[in-house]
Amino acid sequence: MSTATGPVAVPPSPERYLAPSVLSVRGLRKSYGATAAVDGVDLDVRRGEIFAFLGPNGAGKTTSVEILEGYRSRDGGEAEVLGVDPRDGTRSWRARIGVVLQTCAVQPELTVAELLRLYGGYYPAPLGVAETLELVGLTEERDRRAGALSGGQQRRLDVGLALVGDPELLFLDEPTTGFDPAARHHTWEVVAGLRDLGKTVFLTTHYMEEAQALADRVAVIARGRIVAEGTPFDLGGRDHAPTTVSFQLPPGVSAGELPAPLGGEPRVLGELVELQTTTPTAALAALAGWADARELELPELEVRRPTLEDIYLRLTEQA
């Protein structure tokens, strides 16, 4: 995997859909007072996939995850994580999951290697310290005190501590919030590497770029309900959504002179022309032919597919 470009998610292979479910939720409900924080959520996560759980703050994301991690009780619905109801999370069940909380620290006086050894000892069959250091890219920091690490290194240590017990399923709650881009990409590589180890990852994030880079499947929660579910490529009909072609009108040309048909009705906003079309190639050919015949250049010409973020904003605003 190259450091320059970061990990790239590939569309999931069909086998992934046939893999057994490691996490299954039906009609999950949790209220605080009169407010329903989680209001009938269904989820399925299959073995070996990276599943991203997206949603704005206060949408019920953390509450749902903490119910699945066994931290919170639920008011209704069914939940099964690795075949066990997280409500009665036993010691042997805890040995099979790894949790990276949204805000958590470690004893700052201990070194990276000491912490991995300490936490590894809690599990029946831990990974080696050297192996874990390698996986999270902290080999050079092994003898540094945890309190002296940078934010990105501490986060990777968090992942290392969740990983050292060799769990089958990892919960990562907003693993890169507040990171600079380099640290974010470094952490993504670590997470993408978990896929190669056959781990299942349940990731929450509010960076769409992160979901796009890492996730096999995503679900969007808003106001306590799942509003869309799919791959980063087809979420909310993203794969069928129209393409936007935009450009500025060349000087001395009015919108009325544009060729028709363009496969969509152009919207003119001052100098800017924006066209939503499901046949962008034909629209571009018509535009290019028209401009070429008049020896015109179209300033600021752009062809844009809706990003995951566009889809996400539409979904969470509607809800």
Partner: protein, 258 residues
């Protein structure tokens, strides 16, 4: 790994954390030694009335400062470190692992008891070498038992108080506001004979005075017999039990902010 081996391991790593934290080492280890020097230097030549007879002030201050040291190694240190571990999310993280919570807690309490015992031994050595305080030999067993019971009870009380500490910053003021007045009225700094009777009655309700008097009995040269102060020890243990029950009822593993 058995739970016992896990506890021993937890204790080892907690010890590492403790001794590498300069703030903990200063307040818990260095400060009582400074206090011993100051109090013995200022009042050392006098005598004070204990149980109807005079004893040297230096003999008085070794168990007094030992009580203070046990307080800071257990009650003060645990209230601060547990509040910090909780607010930083470390306790919450521990809960996500298969480590049984009682093992984690036993490690913390074990660390405090170990540091207490070390400190009492250190204060005793200083008292003996610098001020000629006689070492308790026939009361040694009572001394060890008192340190263990006192440290365990005060640790339990720290868990109880931590349950009501709202933030990391509030831990030290809360611990101090409980400890300092109690130490003053329990005769730790000012000899008991100079404290008004009403205040002594208040002090008698709380465990500090009983811990101090049990230790004083151990050091008092005129005491014959094994030196066990059963009444005092029972009151200390009772407070520990109350602390443990409150902790079971209210102690939380997640940050208060969440």
């Amino acid at each position: 790994m058995s739970d016992l081996a896990l506890t021993a391991r937890q204790l080892r790593y907690d010890q590492k954390s403790f001794w590498r934290n300069p703030q903990y080492v200063f307040f818990t280890v260095i400060q009582p030694i400074i206090f011993l020097f100051i109090f013995v230097s200022v009042f050392g030549n006098k005598t004070t009335l204990v149980g109807g007879h005079e004893i040297k002030r230096s003999t008085y201050y070794v168990p007094a400062i030992a009580t203070l040291a046990i307080m800071s190694a257990t009650f003060f240190n645990l209230t601060i470190s547990l509040s910090r571990l909780r607010e930083l999310g470390i306790l919450k993280r521990i809960r996500s692992t298969p480590l049984p919570p009682p093992v984690f807690l036993a490690g913390r309490i074990g660390t405090s008891i170990t540091v207490s015992a070390l400190l009492v031994a250190l204060l005793l050595a200083i008292g003996k070498l610098l001020y000629g305080v006689s070492l308790p030999t026939h009361t040694l067993a009572a001394g060890v038992a008192t340190v263990l019971v006192g440290a365990a009870a005060l640790s339990c009380l720290a868990f109880a108080v931590t349950a009501f500490v709202p933030s990391e910053d509030a831990a030290a003021p809360v611990a101090n506001v409980i400890m300092l007045p109690l130490m003053f009225i329990s005769g730790i700094f000012i000899p008991n004979s100079e404290i008004p009777a009403g205040m002594r009655d208040v002090a008698n309700v709380f465990p500090i005075k009983h811990l101090f008097e049990s230790l004083l009995r151990v050091f008092d040269p005129s005491v014959s017999g094994a030196g066990f102060a059963w009444g005092h020890l029972a009151i200390i243990a009772g407070w520990g039990l109350v602390g443990a029950l409150i902790a079971l009822w209210r102690f939380r593993w997640t940050p208060v902010g969440q």
